[in-house]
């Protein structure tokens, strides 16, 4: 009696398994892409929508429907008392100057290293120059605090003893410049390594042809090499720009946005509104504007660049 039932269940099991396997194989691309889409929706649409909601209500409540509509009150507060405009200006200053410095220095370093004849020396420089990226922004803030400290710092000491100048107090007199230079130290490797890869991909025949023309070095770069690696340059600049808008750790570790609000990036302003001033509405209002701002700029750059010649 028991034998037939056993085989019966076995067959249904096998059938069920086969059906699952078919379902898996028939809809394979959907299974494979769905988790990514779910996570992406969770981390793109959801935070933006929630920030927007938070910025428009009086106070966050457990029951979402019970919250009171506040209009644009928080946006007004952000501008009048929240220092939003000031922090946007500071962020743009940091992003533009650091991006410029990192791109220019990174490009020259990449061009110089590409030109080094000995391949052993070349890989030595390549490995050495990426090292600063190993330093977490918060550790970089540590290094900054140690080396720039006006009492125990070695850099003010060297300036004071070896030059006739008196060292400025970096963190209180030149906080913004210090932040920009530290970020440049930290992330120039990023530009360097991508530019280096781009420059190494320039075919020798192209360089040779322009050399035969007798064009001087700089003109070879401007007319032949840079146009050739333009897509790579644009992508590097785009990704670095996006990441620069995320800057937080180095500034928070170094100055916490101070002295006063001298280095108060938007990200630090939002953090302080939320966790120090206890004003989630104002924090969310600034966050919403910042989201729109960053995405708009990035999309303008993408539209201009178009990724032409990058993907196809």
């Amino acid at each position: 009696m028991s034998t037939p039932t056993k085989t019966q269940t076995e067959t249904t099991n096998r059938q069920g398994l086969a059906r699952v396997r078919d379902l898996w194989n028939d809809y394979l691309p959907y299974w494979m892409i769905t988790p990514m889409v779910v996570v992406m929706v969770m981390i793109t649409f959801f935070p933006g929508a929630y920030d927007l909601y938070l910025s428009l209500i009086e106070e966050p409540t457990v029951n979402i429907l019970a919250s009171e509509f506040a209009g644009l009150e928080h946006y007004e507060t952000a501008i009048t008392r929240g220092g939003a405009i000031n922090s946007f200006a500071i962020t743009v200053t940091v992003v533009v100057s650091a991006l410029l410095l990192e791109s220019v220095i990174g490009f020259f370093l990449a061009a110089f290293v590409t030109g080094v004849e000995s391949s052993r020396l070349k890989s030595f420089y390549r490995v050495l120059f990426i090292l600063p990226m190993a330093v977490a922004p918060v550790s970089l803030a540590t290094i900054g605090r140690i080396m720039l400290n006006s009492e125990i710092g070695v850099i003010p000491y060297v300036i004071n003893t070896l030059t006739p100048l008196t060292a400025p107090s970096f963190l209180s007199d030149l906080p913004l410049l210090t932040v920009i230079l530290l970020d440049t130290w930290n992330w120039t490797p990023f530009m360097f390594i991508i530019f280096y890869a781009g420059l190494s991909s320039v075919p020798d025949t192209l360089v040779e042809a322009s050399r035969v023309d007798g064009a001087p070095l700089w003109r070879r770069y401007v007319h032949v090499i840079i146009p050739y690696i333009k897509p790579v340059v644009f992508v590097a600049v785009l990704i670095r720009m996006i990441d620069l808008f995320r800057t937080f750790g180095v500034v928070y570790g170094l100055t916490q946005g101070g002295p006063g609000t001298a280095t108060q990036l938007v990200s630090i302003n939002i953090y302080e509104q939320m966790f120090i001033n206890n004003a989630p509405g104002v924090a969310a209002a600034i966050a919403v504007v910042y989201l729109v701002f960053v995405i708009a700029i990035a999309n303008i750059v993408i539209a201009k660049v178009g990724f032409e010649g990058v993907w196809d």
Partner: protein, 291 residues
């Protein structure tokens, strides 16, 4: 200059020779200067971590000193540091595994199937990186408290996944694009299913890409401070937050701080050097793929 170069002549050649030497010298001068700028802060931090605390801050600096591992011993003995370091290893490691499990199959689909508006989809994926973490973390701070995920390792793992997913998808799509489809078609002729082809043919071929994207994801999560600052308080504190809290304390013990920072840098530096061949591909989101 251009005309001078085209004119033949021995004096010309000599002049050109000196100019080339000058260029070479200038190039090495610049490269050595930058090498110094890169190495000096790292050297300074490391040497400070090896000095006894009394000697650490002395100016003029003691160039010659007896290195001591005392600071590191103290660091290892403070349970806070060990916990934070282990937390970071665990959370970041788990996030890398998870982000690969989610991102790699999705990248394969984006590479092999006809996706409507593929370009817009890719830009949308990239846009997750455009969202400043502070704007993302604000809603999650409130949600996490509702769902008891605040100060939990799982919550932190999810946040780390969120910063690296776009990177994994982009880089792996570019890698898969570079692997000829004939490879898996041959396997399918032999009776393998599409999924088997993906597992047994494509994944091994894409190993260098997976390897490099894993390490770069590890690094981006490892250096993250904000998530720890906002979403943890005690149980899931990452090592970045430990270092930060050191800075925040009233009287900073410099040599200990230096030791903690150095300990944080060393594993990442080793990873970076190991992966330096594929670094460009990873950092440019797969656009620059080095053969």
């Amino acid at each position: 200059m251009a005309t001078a170069d085209t004119e033949p002549g021995s004096s010309q050649r000599f002049e050109k020779g000196t100019r080339e030497t000058l260029v070479t010298v200038a190039r090495h001068a610049v490269l050595l200067t930058w090498s110094f700028l890169v190495l000096f802060p790292l050297y300074w931090l490391a040497s400070m971590s090896l000095k006894p605390s009394g000697q650490a801050n002395s100016l003029p600096p003691d160039w010659i000193f007896l290195p001591t591992v005392y600071n590191y011993l103290q660091l290892v003995q403070s349970s806070d540091f060990v916990t934070a370091f282990a937390n970071s290893l665990l959370m970041v490691g788990a996030s890398v595994v998870l982000v690969l499990l989610i991102g790699v199959p999705a990248a394969y689909v984006l590479s092999r199937y006809d996706i409507p508006k593929e370009r817009d989809v890719l830009v949308w994926i990239l846009s997750s990186r455009m969202l400043p973490p502070i704007a993302v973390v604000l809603p999650f701070f409130i949600i996490f408290q509702e769902f008891n995920l605040f100060d939990s390792k799982i919550g932190m793992v999810l946040m780390y996944v969120s910063i690296n997913l776009s990177l994994v998808v982009w880089v792996m799509k570019a890698f898969f694009d570079g692997i000829p489809e004939t490879l898996e078609e041959a396997a399918r002729v032999d009776g393998a299913t599409r999924f088997q082809g993906f597992l047994k043919i494509i994944l091994p071929a894409a190993k260098p890409g997976i390897f490099s994207v894993a390490i770069i994801s590890f690094i981006f999560a490892w250096i993250e401070l904000l998530f720890g600052l906002v979403l943890t308080s005690f149980n899931a504190v990452p090592v970045t937050l430990f270092v930060y809290s050191f800075i925040g304390s009233r009287s900073i013990e410099w040599s200990m701080l230096a030791a903690a920072s150095t300990a944080m840098i060393i594993p990442v530096a080793i990873f970076l050097i190991a992966v330096n061949k594929y670094l460009a591909a990873g950092l440019s989101f797969g656009v620059v793929i080095k053969e």
